[in-house]
């Protein structure tokens, strides 16, 4: 008899490997979490006068910036995983929620002079409400239709906002700058990433999660078994939107300047999907791993300036290689039966090509 595609019984060596990886992972997490504190300490030592701070400070600042960006993408990828990975709806426009969250904070702090602390909680609310609104018509669509309709959402929302002068038009919005808050932004982003993982964990264990996976596997069967498919899909979409919007809201204050280009980049749509898929869509930690590896790679490669073009080309090639050779995600290798061998690559290639 054929071996099941996804065995739930890892080998003993596999278990030991996973335990080692887990320990190493926890150590890294601890370092990553503590580092920004030293930054705050350094700033305090210098009596909040940046001119007296040395190279160390600048270096740490840049590391923390990288960490913050990565944490942001962990949240984006994990949020996408709820609708794309668990529910199986290929959402290509989540950047709309990111942008809406960012503009919520931007508008409230810049135009209405609300404090960041008061504005931020509204970012996920606005994003989720919008997701609920467009989710009702869009989630009736399947396959390509849903994918491109959501892609259009991301583009259109950005364009509409750019055309409305209340939201700063083409100039953008300027939330008042918060000084020496690098650590704060890192912890906010990291907390949001943690929240996204926690939410996924809870969902996977709940009736809601089983309903979503049932929808992914066969929507008609799910509905006759009693799954309220419309409510579940819209729920998952809104949940993903809320987490994405929260990330956008934090980003707006962190960047202290936003415009259409900076918070509605079409590319984010695909990057978060790629992260989830490389790591393993539908799994708990897959999107996290994918986001950390891929965003770190992107940041390293980009480095600003002319090399950005090469970074983009690299990303495109990586996309091609990933979808051609590793359709089930890298986490598949750690989680179960398949090992990363030439045979595996050949088999997946044969399965998916003509």
């Amino acid at each position: 008899m054929a071996r099941p595609a996804f065995s739930t019984q890892p080998s003993r060596a596999g278990r030991r490997l996973r335990r080692a990886i887990l320990v190493a992972f926890l150590v890294v997490v601890a370092v990553v979490l503590v580092l920004p504190l030293t930054l705050t300490q350094q700033a305090a030592d210098a009596n909040l006068d940046p001119t007296t701070l040395g190279i160390d400070f600048a270096m740490n600042k840049s590391i923390v910036r990288t960490e913050t960006t990565i944490a942001m993408f962990v949240a984006l990828a994990a949020a996408w995983n709820l609708i794309g990975g668990l529910t199986g709806y290929a959402a290509f426009g989540n950047v709309a929620f990111f942008g809406l969250g960012a503009y919520t904070v931007g508008y409230l702090t810049d135009k209405l002079h609300l404090s960041f602390a008061l504005a931020l909680p509204l970012a996920p609310v606005v994003a989720a409400a919008f997701a609920g609104l467009i989710g009702l018509p869009l989630l009736r669509l399947r396959g390509h239709y849903f994918a491109i309709a959501t892609l259009g959402t991301g583009i259109a929302v950005g364009e509409v906002i750019k055309n409305l002068d209340v939201f700063g038009g083409a100039t953008g919005l300027f939330p008042p700058i918060l000084r020496h808050a690098d650590a704060l932004f890192f912890y906010l982003m990291a907390a949001n990433a943690g929240l996204a993982v926690l939410v996924t964990w809870l969902v996977l264990r709940s009736r809601f999660g089983y309903g979503l996976i049932a929808i992914r596997e066969n929507e008609e069967a799910a509905s006759v078994l009693g799954v309220n498919t419309t409510a579940y899909k819209v729920g998952a979409f809104a949940l993903a939107a809320a987490l994405t919007g929260l990330a956008g809201g934090i980003f707006a204050q962190w960047a202290s300047f936003i415009d259409q280009e900076s918070v509605f980049p079409i590319q984010y749509n695909v990057e978060m999907i790629l992260m989830a898929i490389i790591g393993g869509a539908g799994t708990l930690f897959g999107p996290v791993a994918g986001a950390i590896v891929l965003e770190w790679l992107i940041l390293e490669l980009a480095g600003g300036g002319a090399s950005a073009v090469y970074a983009q080309i690299g990303l495109g090639l990586l996309l091609a290689v990933t979808v051609i050779f590793v359709p089930r995600g890298v986490v598949d290798f750690f989680g179960g039966s398949s090992r990363l061998t030439l045979g595996y690559l050949r088999r997946t290639l044969r399965e998916t090509s003509v």
Binding site: I134, A149, L317, L318, L319, T322, V323, E351
Partner: protein
Amino acid sequence: MSLFVQQLVLGLMLGGVYVAVAIGFSLVWGILNIVNLAHGALVVVGMYATWFLFTHAGLDPFLTLPLDALILFAVGYFLQRVLINRVIRAPLFFTLLLTFGINLVLINLFLLWFKADFRSVTPSYAGTGLSLGAVTVPYIRLAALVIALVQAGLVGLFMNRSRTGFAVQAVGADKDAAQLVGIDLRHVYALTFAVGAACAGVAGGLLSTIQAISPTAGEPYTLQAFVVVILGGLGRVSATVVGGLLFGLIEVLAQSQVPGLGAGWSNAIAFAVLVLVLVLRPQGLMGRLA
């Protein structure tokens, strides 16, 4: 009144552009079930090809169209045969991701080679037009409309009259059965994509005389081609023609007649049309019920 007629004329002309862009996109989607996110980038390849031949070889832009088609045919055949065929049986968003990756690579190659500068193709007759009373019909746009319709006709003939066209249709209808009667799937897939790319090349050639050329000039056209196909209905050349013309009219009329909307709103208008059609008539105006 004459202003309104002028808008109608411009709408139809713009519709011609959309027909040209959407024909190849629709073919690839209908037959291969691939929504080609690199379609816009292929259009840009056609733009640069025409620009190059116009500036360096002095060829009239309209004479470069067959060459654009040839170049893009080769590019398309290569892309499908070497890359996309590898994931054609994977879940659908893998083809979306792959074509997005191809799009990304192409755009950045353009950036490397041509920089972000805007270029243009301006033959001597650019800016002239046919005056009918108060209404002016720009020659270049009129020619673009005619060529778009001819192109649509040729694709229709190819699909319905040629042996290869029948093979392509057979594959679109049932790929396993087609394989059983001896059709080489890999070749037919590559051929279909190549024809789609060639159409994109011609569209690019036409567009190079109408708008500024830049690496990202093709971006809006992928979404717009999608909207055109949805509007007309998937699977028939005539439906794409109707969808394209209608979409051009809708866009021009919305921008000129609805207060508050202007040139910056074209994506939002496209999206609004998309959502309306998908909700009210998912099979498209000329589509049959599944």
